[in-house]
């Protein structure tokens, strides 16, 4: 398996599963008294800023190269052909209604939304803000999970 593809699988699993799902969503999904919520909201925001954002940035840096079919074809095709095929793959859907070339911008948009929601929750730790933060983090996590595990074929 190409190294880049392996890195992508590990990085995506680390962010989506280990951090978003197990550390943030589990906490955001738990209700409690106001002072407890405030404490948890601060912990979530700190984890988001210090751990999730750098890991997410490193993961997104792998895209879209890690999903280009040229990764599998280098032994067989000449560079001009690979470039042509990779260009075609960029215009293919990575997930329904989203082309591979647009994956990074969509991830960034969802990441900003999640950060804003977590910041709002930390500023005012209400049940509504907690649920809003949960929803936004869940959207990002779901998006990452939907992305292909392997190359996109044109």
């Amino acid at each position: 398996m190409p190294v880049l593809l392996r890195e992508w699988r590990r990085a995506r699993a680390n962010v989506a599963h280990d951090w978003l799902e197990r550390r943030l969503l589990q906490v955001l999904n738990t209700s409690g008294p106001p002072e407890e919520l405030q404490k948890r909201a601060s912990v979530c925001l700190e984890a988001w800023k210090e751990s999730v954002i750098p890991k997410l940035a490193a993961t997104l840096k792998l895209l879209p190269d890690c999903l280009l079919p040229g990764l599998l074809l280098r032994e067989f095709l000449e560079p001009p052909d690979i470039e042509k095929i990779d260009r075609a793959a960029l215009n293919c859907a990575a997930i329904p209604r989203l082309m591979l070339k647009d994956v990074i911008s969509e991830a960034n948009r969802l990441s900003v939304d999640a950060g804003v929601a977590l910041q709002a929750y930390a500023s005012e730790a209400t049940a509504d803000k907690r649920l809003a933060a949960f929803d936004q983090v869940m959207k990002l996590r779901r998006f990452l999970q939907q992305l292909p595990r392997s190359v996109v074929l044109p």
Binding site: M1, P69, L72, L73, E75, F76, L77, D81, K84, I85, A88, P148, R149, S150, V151, V152, L153, P154
Partner: protein, 229 residues
Amino acid sequence: MKVTVFDINSGRPWGKWLGIDAVRDAGIEEFQDPALYQGEGRFLALIHLGALLRDGEAEKVAYFDRCGEDLPESCRHRVWWLFYSGAGYSDLHASTSNVHYLRYLVDTEVMYPEDEACFRRFLAQLGSAEDVGDGKLWDELYPEGNHSSSTLLALLSVTAHVSDADRVIDYVLAERRSLVSAHREYSARASEHGVRSTATIEEWIAKLSARKYDEVRLQLEGVLGHVPD
């Protein structure tokens, strides 16, 4: 745990491939004989029946299953039979966990490093003290990923995008190693998904040679999904 390996009727360099000094030769008539399995430890019989066992001959599978069950209680659970051929058995499946029909081919002289690694891992597992009687032991003979089959699927999928697709496929056919790996992974994945895999590597070669790329691609897609995993 001691493992005694028998080479039944092949003359292939199993000792070299498995990294062991002692591989005992035995004839076809001997592997069903309990007398062969005297002593302690486990026994692995690598059985090559050639024309006596063709892919798809299910009645013979039933017969060998019974032969395995008829071994004396004292050794039955310590004996493993691996049937292999020069083409692979993609359509033979044993019903007992100690018998297996290898889905990929074993060449007469050459074993690819990745196959050799699988066999050595298998032998190490068989020689471990663990309970290996649940049939999962045979999984060790197959690679974990399906990189070669994914690559072949990718190649077949992009033939419309390249001007010299035929030359590329000719290269794949000539460089048989990757094609063999792809077929082995395809067979393993088909079996894992419970998909009936009837495409032999000879059929693949015939279809690819005849430029019927779509037929092979559809088979691969049916097992791997449109996006290779």
